[in-house]
């Protein structure tokens, strides 16, 4: 037996014969050096280079977006059009799928070389804008260099964070309830309609479940966009200024509404609801056949259609449709430190307002923001699912209400917390009130 040698500081501890003071000073010195190094080196790269005044000087813009192969082809084509008209401007294009997109964008930003132009969504717009990572586009808008005069007013306003225009809507979408039309017709059931109340929707879903043995609706209590529409119909909102726009009682009521629906058998079991809570197109219950309706965005219809043989229909979320708004499905933003801000803004303006470019881009990022061009593009669409979603969204546009403010920073955390709270109610691990309270507490620390 070896004598007991207490391995207190770890057996491979730093030798103890050095004086602690010296070591501490050493560590502090090292830390300071380490922190200073990138700063010094970084500063060298960030010197304010004079923006060339020569309009024909060669400019290389970096541009970064997420999406699939189809989007990449269209975007590259549209950018090529720009280069054709402005031969001095070329692009360094980076695209990837949404997985890891914001991780990479944040890392690039931290490294001091974010792309000149990048795609962003309302989840992160406030995060980037409030840290001044995005260029304020207000002066460009006022000068007409960024022309939003043909945009629906609420659409471009949905890019304003703290009074600054942080992003330009790259397309419009709105909440859409997609249902399985084939299933309903086969069983002689009525199709749901826009304007049904929430109670009517649930009663309808119960009827579907009884008749077809397929649950009528996915329980959307974990879905922030459904919760948001419902709140607006109660005269509340997700956010008001820097605060939450709702109370624990509202959340309890919302959870109770869906507890009722579950108890009546209008929705699937919690494990299936959990599957559908993923935002992935391929996991939506309406295409996996595990429910008759899914809560999505209207412009996701064509992609949903590719995953099922059944006919699909789409309407607004239940309740008064004026609670919905012209939402920017995504934005283009310019990095505040870009060396070619003016050109970058001009490119954005081109992507939104040039007839040829808009025609190329089509409805890939949502309906075109420019209303005149939207009409032209809509007439050209041949895909029936796409036609249908454009039709529905255009009809709804007549009823849209004012846009809410862009979600606060911390929004993505709040979304995750809503899912967690709603699911703990669904799995029966907490009552509606307990789950609501848990959610409220989490929200408060998320936006603090």
């Amino acid at each position: 037996m070896h004598p007991a040698t207490p391995p207190t500081t770890g057996t491979y501890a730093v030798p103890v014969h050095r004086t602690p003071v010296r070591r501490r000073r050493l560590i502090r010195g090292l830390l300071a050096a380490v922190v200073a190094l990138p700063l010094v080196l970084g500063a060298a790269g960030c010197g304010d280079e004079k923006t060339s005044t020569d309009p024909n000087a060669p400019v290389k813009l970096s541009i970064f977006w997420w999406g699939g192969e189809a989007r990449a082809k269209l975007t590259e084509e549209a950018l090529a059009l720009y280069t054709k008209k402005h031969p001095n401007v070329t692009f360094e294009k980076t695209w990837q799928a949404n997985q890891g997109y914001f991780d990479k964008l944040a890392t690039l930003t931290a490294g001091g070389n974010p792309p000149d132009i990048f795609q962003i969504d309302d989840n992160y717009l406030a995060e980037y804008a409030s840290r001044s990572a995005t260029l304020d586009l207000t002066s460009y808008k006022d000068a007409g260099d960024l022309d939003v005069s043909k945009f629906p007013r609420s659409l471009w306003q949905y890019g304003v964070v703290d009074g600054k225009l942080a992003g330009m809507a790259a397309g419009e979408n709105t909440q859409g309830l997609v249902y399985n039309r084939t299933l309903l017709t086969k069983n002689g059931l009525p199709e749901p309609t826009t304007g049904m109340t929430w109670e009517e929707h649930i009663a309808w879903a119960e009827q579907v479940a009884k008749k077809t043995r397929v649950p009528g609706t996915q329980d959307p209590s974990a879905d922030y966009k459904a919760f948001w529409v419902w709140l607006r119909q109660q005269g509340k909102d997700l956010y008001k200024g820097k605060e939450l726009g709702f109370t624990a009682e509202d959340v309890t009521k919302w959870f109770d509404l869906w507890k009722g629906a579950r108890d009546r058998g209008a929705t699937p079991t919690p494990d299936v609801i959990h599957e559908g809570n993923a935002t992935d197109i391929t996991k939506q219950l309406v295409v996996t056949g595990k429910a008759a309706t899914s809560w999505v965005w209207v412009n996701q219809m064509p992609e949903l259609k590719k995953n099922t043989k059944d006919e699909l229909g789409v309407i607004a979320y239940p309740g008064d449709p004026s609670a919905q708004w012209a939402r920017a499905s995504m934005y283009w933003s310019v990095f505040r430190g870009s060396k070619h801000k003016d050109v970058a803004v001009d490119v954005m303006n081109f992507l939104a307002n040039d007839p040829e470019a808009v025609k190329v881009l089509g409805t890939d990022r949502g309906l075109p923001s420019n209303l005149d061009l939207r009409r032209v593009v809509s007439d050209d669409v041949t895909d029936p699912a796409m036609k249908q979603s454009i039709q529905v969204e255009s009809d709804l546009a007549q009823k849209f209400g004012e846009a809410p403010q862009v979600p606060l920073k911390g929004h993505s955390k709040i979304r995750a917390e809503l899912t967690k709270a709603a699911e703990s109610a669904q799995y029966g691990r907490a009552s509606s009130a307990q789950a609501a309270e848990q959610f409220l507490n989490a929200c408060k620390s998320a936006i603090a």
């Binding site: 770890g10 491979y12 501890a13 730093v14 030798p15 190094l37 990138p38 080196l41 970084g42 790269g45 997420w66 999406g67 699939g68 192969e69 189809a70 989007r71 990449a72 082809k73 360094e92 294009k93 980076t94 695209w95 990837q96 799928a97 949404n98 997985q99 890891g100 991780d103 990479k104 944040a106 890392t107 690039l108 931290a110 490294g111 001091g112 070389n113 993923a278 935002t279 992935d280 197109i281 391929t282 295409v287 996996t288 056949g289 996701q300 992609e303 590719k306 995953n307 099922t308 043989k309 890939d364």
Partner: protein, 298 residues
């Protein structure tokens, strides 16, 4: 074929008792096949899915496709402006260079730790183990900032930030692995070499290097496979489609909220298993042959 090692090594590989009776052999084979079937079911499912249509992948959870769709392989291969083969080449290059980098640099470091005596050795070893312990996700951003300030990011050849660390033995896993293996080599061999007049370099060259084959082979296998599968670092440091590697390219098929080409993604995932599987089978042969140290001593 892999079973027939060199004649000298064969007895070593058959283990303590020499060749076994064929009855036991058959029973063992049956057990193995049963285990393999269970272990590999998910992979069969994956292959089955790579032959399903998009609609069926979402709705048919069974093993076999109702409607045989081999077109996924063609679609996947030609889905991008570049052929998918380009990503294979990129990945193969990065992975092979990583194998070389790790093999050389980690072996040198491991020899120092395992066999040589120098000041602060214990401290350095502790630091080396320490570098294994910090979760990598908090290092990505500082590392990116550092590499960028050193001018390594986005150069003409974008793989530098992925490869330089590998040539500097930063994968402590492999250093530690090799140390453990080297410590299994009897020190009498060193002593014998020293009597013959060898210094530290000579011992490394003539004793340690030849006997480190199992460790080197293991390192090669893991370096290759892990690099082949590494997503996050390659995503962060590569920005041009034509530089993308297989793991990054595979995610391009599915933008979960808009476009999804699940079938082609599965097809390319199945294909991307082939090179690593072949690499493994080729290299593991070297693990079949046992080491007979007595020959060296004799």
């Amino acid at each position: 074929m892999t079973a027939t090692a060199t004649p000298a090594a064969a007895p070593a590989a058959t283990g303590p008792r020499g060749p076994r009776r064929s009855g036991g052999q058959a029973v063992r084979l049956l057990i193995l096949i049963a285990i393999v079937a269970v272990v590999l079911y998910p992979l069969f499912w994956m292959i089955g899915t790579s032959l399903k249509s998009q609609e069926e992948i979402v709705n048919n959870i069974g093993l076999l496709p109702n409607e045989f769709t081999p077109g996924n392989y063609v679609d996947g291969w030609t889905n991008f402006d570049l052929s998918f083969g380009r990503f294979f080449l990129n990945s193969a290059m990065v992975s092979l260079l990583t194998v070389i980098g790790n093999g050389i640099s980690c072996l040198l470091a491991a020899y120092a730790f395992a066999r040589l005596r120098f000041r602060l050795r214990g401290v350095w070893f502790a630091v080396m183990i320490g570098t294994l312990l910090l979760p990598g996700h908090v290092l990505i951003v500082p590392q990116y900032i550092l590499f960028r300030s050193l001018g390594l990011v986005g150069g003409e050849w974008p793989y530098l930030p992925l490869l330089i660390p590998q040539f500097l033995a930063t994968e402590a896993f492999f250093v530690f692995l090799m140390v453990q293996f080297m410590r299994g080599i009897p020190r009498e061999l060193d002593e014998a070499a020293k009597i013959d007049g060898a210094n530290a370099f000579g011992i490394f060259r003539h004793v340690i290097l030849p006997l480190s084959r199992p460790a080197l082979v293991t390192t090669a296998i893991f370096s290759f496979i892990w690099t082949w599968n590494d997503f996050f670092r390659q995503l962060v440091f590569l920005s041009d489609l034509e530089d993308y590697t297989v793991p990054v390219a595979l995610t391009l098929f599915i933008d979960s909220t808009s476009q999804s080409a699940v079938g082609p993604m599965f097809a390319m995932s199945v294909l991307s298993l082939l090179p690593v599987f072949l690499f493994f089978v080729a290299f593991q042969r070297m693990l079949v042959e046992g080491i007979n140290t007595s020959g060296l001593k004799g």
